[in-house]
Symmetry: C2
């Protein structure tokens, strides 16, 4: 079987450009003993991958220049020499950014494509949903009746988070950019939605929206920049912040100044907790259990933005930084 | 009895100027039923007071323009019409910035001047020491064998914190400005001391000092600005930060940008916790118990910087922002 794959041509800072990616075709080897060959069907592109393109080790190793990149993927087994894996089985792996692969089964998980659509395992039922869950439940410790401000509410993590927080009995103010995204947040159950592109003073707009709900107890940070500044100004005393990402900062060419109001951390006795989902697999079974319940109760909807074909993967990835996605950004092969 | 007192002439942002203070003399009334008259002997000046001069409610009300300011003070009862208070008793109150006062005894605490020098109740055995204790024990949860970076190590909170952390079995890297202050940090038991005025790259210098100790697990933030930036770059993954104050920022005329490396909060999964000591009186008895033990074991030294005379209180206060104090800044009457 032939497989096309996307490779990184260089490490870089600053905006993501198409020439940093190249496509190559290889012949996949037949599986050896203990290996399987898989045809990928869905690939995930995620903001955290930007950090792996810089070439400096952060919490994960950088992508290797010239080698196929890695990322979440689901696909079907084509041939198997590994126990417990048969042709036609659906599997999830980190062998993304490629049409197929042959590898041992370590780190490969079988998924139940009858229970959920296979692509959901890259979204709400996968690391994306788990990220929202860990941020809300473990980092913030959101309680029923409290009010959460979910930034990037129409994004993959944000759209899961709005629904999880509502299912937990909390109120949610969502922010998103533009009418289609704000409408999606409303559809997901957000109590109030602010279009950050349509307001002059984001903090004032969010505080006004939160006032009938008693103010903002917690903030889920996906954005950085002006959103972080507004959140520091808007949280109530003893407010908590889960710091999941700061996508507005990832493509900075040069270091860009942070908010000027960090003294609010002292004045309002705030707690900010950065986190990475992979540190929290100890709550995975809680997540699955809660999520199953919410899904059976019809409390969780999903929506994906889908690009088709392996050659579109870089474009899908670049779209994360221009707000091209509503819900989870996926590539279908 | 006559009493001179310091009053605020206006609310202000930006640098503290002498003309923002005026001195006035009043006749103290004789104590009525349930009241005492006290002659203050020691006054505390503290960085947090700067926030009360802005005129905006933060976690405490602003000082009233034209009225005597408030602050920690210890003094002796001159005459009493309140049960439990007799002439000559030592008391601690928030009636600072004045030579004497007549008031009811609510909020006034009798102190044991045989156990400790009375001024210690404004320093290591008072809110200053308690602030260091809460930051290290409650906010950071410092464990034996871990390494703490204490900023402003020669300051009131910092000098207490270095000794408390050492007494708890942790390692301490202290930063301070200039040879006299760094020598004081060493005398207090810091494992390594960095003179921030003498290095080009504060983070690199602190990391180098911390390397033999296994790196920096926690940071005690008193400074802000370049110190905060360096701390975000220097903490180990899962590092914790107690955010006690950011004195470098308090006199900003206009909002000043924050650190450019806040994405480290995500990349290194850091926790930042702002706090105010008055939220944590539930640990006061633990503090007193631990402190007594450490003092009896000779593990806690104190040093004060003393200005004499009520008219010097504004100068003492302004000195906090120019680094004029080693240890606790006090005014002796």
């Amino acid at each position: 079987m032939k497989s096309r794959e996307i490779r990184l041509t260089r490490h870089f800072t600053g905006p993501v450009l198409p020439e940093y990616f190249e496509i190559a075709e290889i012949d996949l080897p037949e599986p050896g003993e203990g290996e399987i060959q898989v045809k990928n069907v869905w690939l995930s592109v995620d903001p955290y991958m930007r950090g792996r393109m810089i070439g400096i080790k952060t919490y994960v190793d950088p992508f290797q220049v010239g080698a196929p990149m890695e990322g979440g993927a689901v696909g079907q087994v084509v041939s198997s020499k590994a126990e417990g894996f048969a042709e036609g089985d659906w599997v999830m792996s980190m062998y993304g950014w490629r049409e197929g692969w042959t590898a041992p089964t370590a780190g490969v998980t079988k998924i139940d494509a009858d229970l959920l659509p296979p692509e959901a395992y890259l979204g709400v039922a996968g690391l994306t949903g788990m990220t929202a869950y860990v941020g809300i439940k473990e980092m913030i410790g959101l309680k029923p009746g409290e009010t959460l401000w979910m930034s990037a509410g129409a994004g993959a993590v944000g759209s899961a988070g709005i629904q999880f927080a509502k299912a937990m009995g909390a109120h949610v103010i969502a922010t998103a950019g533009g009418g289609e995204k704000t409408a999606f947040c409303t559809e997901l159950g957000a109590d109030a939605v602010v279009d950050y592109k349509a307001v002059d003073d984001l903090g004032a707009a969010v505080r006004a929206a939160a006032e009938p709900l008693g103010g903002i107890d917690a903030y889920f940070e996906n954005v950085g920049g002006d959103h972080l500044q507004a959140a520091l100004d808007s949280l109530k005393p003893h407010g908590r912040m889960a710091v999941c990402g700061m996508i507005a900062r990832y493509n900075d060419d040069a270091p860009s100044p942070g908010p000027s109001n960090l003294t609010q951390i002292v004045a309002k006795k705030l707690t900010l907790r950065g986190f990475i989902v992979s540190d929290h697999f100890d709550v995975y079974s809680d997540f699955v259990s809660d999520l199953s319940g919410w899904m059976m109760a019809g409390k969780v909807k999903t929506r994906d933005t889908v690009f088709e074909g392996i050659e579109k993967a870089p474009e899908a990835f670049m779209g994360l930084f221009t707000g091209a996605n509503i819900g989870k950004m996926l590539v279908k092969l």
